[in-house]
Symmetry: C2
Subunit: 320 residues, 2 copies
């Protein structure tokens, strides 16, 4: 029988020295922030049957749990430093813990982000990660920083995660290999950390956020915080490779309001177009220009010809 | 119907300016640590039916959720700065949220600790708080810092929370007013933040931790981390006012291995006895000397006459 302390020691405590002055095993972790740097902090909680299916593959779940948090750092332009993990588990299952911790640490190590502490308890499966990053004061990519005249940009592609969900729900018939490919986007999102760092470096971008609940709803947060409006060219939205082969209406709906994309939506002055493309190149991330921030409030969606589109979309509401 | 965003706005977003450069509402909170200060970080997850009863009073639960985290900062000697709150709720119940947030903020405000961000989602009730504090590098009260010859000290009193649980479980018959008094200790623990700060100021103490899973088990963590042993004078352990009226064997068991005490156990050199008492006075916290750290490994429990006691106790294991 695996005890709470064995569990932590066996799966989560590691010998390697990281950034922390003191890691797992005391009342608190100790971390000395780099002089003059600002700390970015974000918490996300993942619940079974809400954010992932019961019986989800533990390796992919370990990856995704950290990825959605790193995505918040990316959206702020912060460099990952460390994280805490609080875990409620129905049982201490070594096979599950082995897979989960492998997926978690594979992504953590790729970003030099150290597990510094946390908590484990028995309970309905629940994964809560709090992540810490550093950035230069004044360079954070805030939601309230969009300015009329800014271009709107999207990283990567949108909608394949939502398409995978539609496949699971039988809303859409997908070939097995297509579903597998789309599901990869759903289960193993890529946090756009390198792009966020490149955009915050000058800074190149004004406002940014990560798209977790669908572009239209999330872009709405930028518009509200910045007290601006926007026109969005729906047919310019970059669809994921599987979604790109679907019919137009589905493509429009799932790129504009899919959910679980974990791409960045950001705004930048027209004068920085070349710098944005360069940030995409140095970070190895596709960036696509999809609209314009305007002084007039509201979000106007248009098609490739500039004609208004009414897609009747809304963001995700956990209590809706 | 209360949406996720309404819920955050109504119960958790506040106008007051705190330490954070950017609080709730963006991808990350932004916080600039004071120059040259070290950051202490701790996460605790509270699960229904595990850490609290189903139907627990939401005001007290709000208090306790933050208190157990502040207790970790206290045990490190850190000054509270801010916290994140991730909350899974079966439903968005305004009455529950009102009580919970009042209990949470009453304690947060008493410690100048700002809610900087978090997450809300639907799911089995789960409360995950990550707390941030600051301290002077080198002054942290670490578990591995006990030295042979140190006195062992306890703050406040022990065992009333465990006695209240025994009352709920009908292990012990308590008068109604006694149960109410003991239950107050269980539901509304007092984090010993001021004492922790006073002990870390010189620093006065060597090692410290907060007693959450019972003194004997928790003291064992100090002994293991510091590679020392100890003799514990069980009859010197300060019992809570209700427990103090119970028979000797129960008093011994519940002070030595109660659980849910959230008092500090710390070690300090004999030369610092007066300084420890002074730390207790300036923080308004009772401190009691209960044993001695020794080079010989193992924990030896003795009675008031110094005779060995075998209480067959162990710490709490969530997966035991």
């Amino acid at each position: 029988m695996l005890s709470e302390f064995d569990l932590i020691k066996q799966f989560f405590q590691r010998d390697r020295r990281g950034r922390a002055d003191l890691g797992i095993g005391d009342d608190c972790a100790l971390l000395t922030p780099a002089p003059g740097r600002q700390l970015a902090i974000s918490s996300d909680m993942l619940v079974e049957d809400r954010h992932f299916f019961a019986g989800a593959d533990p390796f992919m779940l370990g990856h995704k749990s950290l990825a959605v948090n790193l995505s918040d750092l990316a959206a702020m332009g912060a460099r990952p430093v460390g994280f805490t993990l609080a875990l409620a588990l129905p049982a201490a299952d070594p096979a599950w813990l082995e897979g989960f911790s492998r997926g978690l640490f594979a992504l953590a190590d790729a970003h030099g982000c150290e597990l510094v502490g946390g908590d484990t308890t028995k309970g309905p499966l629940n994964i809560c990660i709090t992540v810490f990053g550093e950035l230069t004061p004044g360079h954070a990519l805030r939601r309230d920083a969009a300015r009329a005249g800014d271009d709107i940009w999207i990283s990567g592609t949108l909608g394949d995660a939502r398409l995978a969900l539609a496949g699971y729900w039988k809303e859409v018939a997908l070939a097995a290999h297509e579903h597998t490919q789309a599901a990869q986007r759903m289960h193993m999102p890529t946090p756009r950390v390198a792009l966020g760092l490149a955009l915050a470096a000058q800074p190149v971008a004004h406002a940014a956020l990560d798209i977790s609940d669908g572009l239209v709803g999330d872009l709405g947060h930028i518009l509200a915080a910045s007290r601006v409006g926007a026109t969005l060219d729906v047919d310019a939205l970059p669809a994921g490779p599987v979604l790109a082969r679907q019919e137009l209406q589905l493509r429009r709906r799932f790129t504009a309001a899919g959910g679980d994309d974990y791409e960045l939506c950001f705004t930048a002055p027209v004068a920085n177009r070349e710098a944005v493309l360069e940030a995409g190149r140095i970070s190895g991330t596709a960036v696509t220009r999809v609209g314009r921030i305007e002084a007039e409030p509201g979000l106007r969606m248009v098609d490739a010809q500039g004609a208004p589109l009414d897609l009747k979309l809304s963001g995700w509401d956990h209590f809706g």
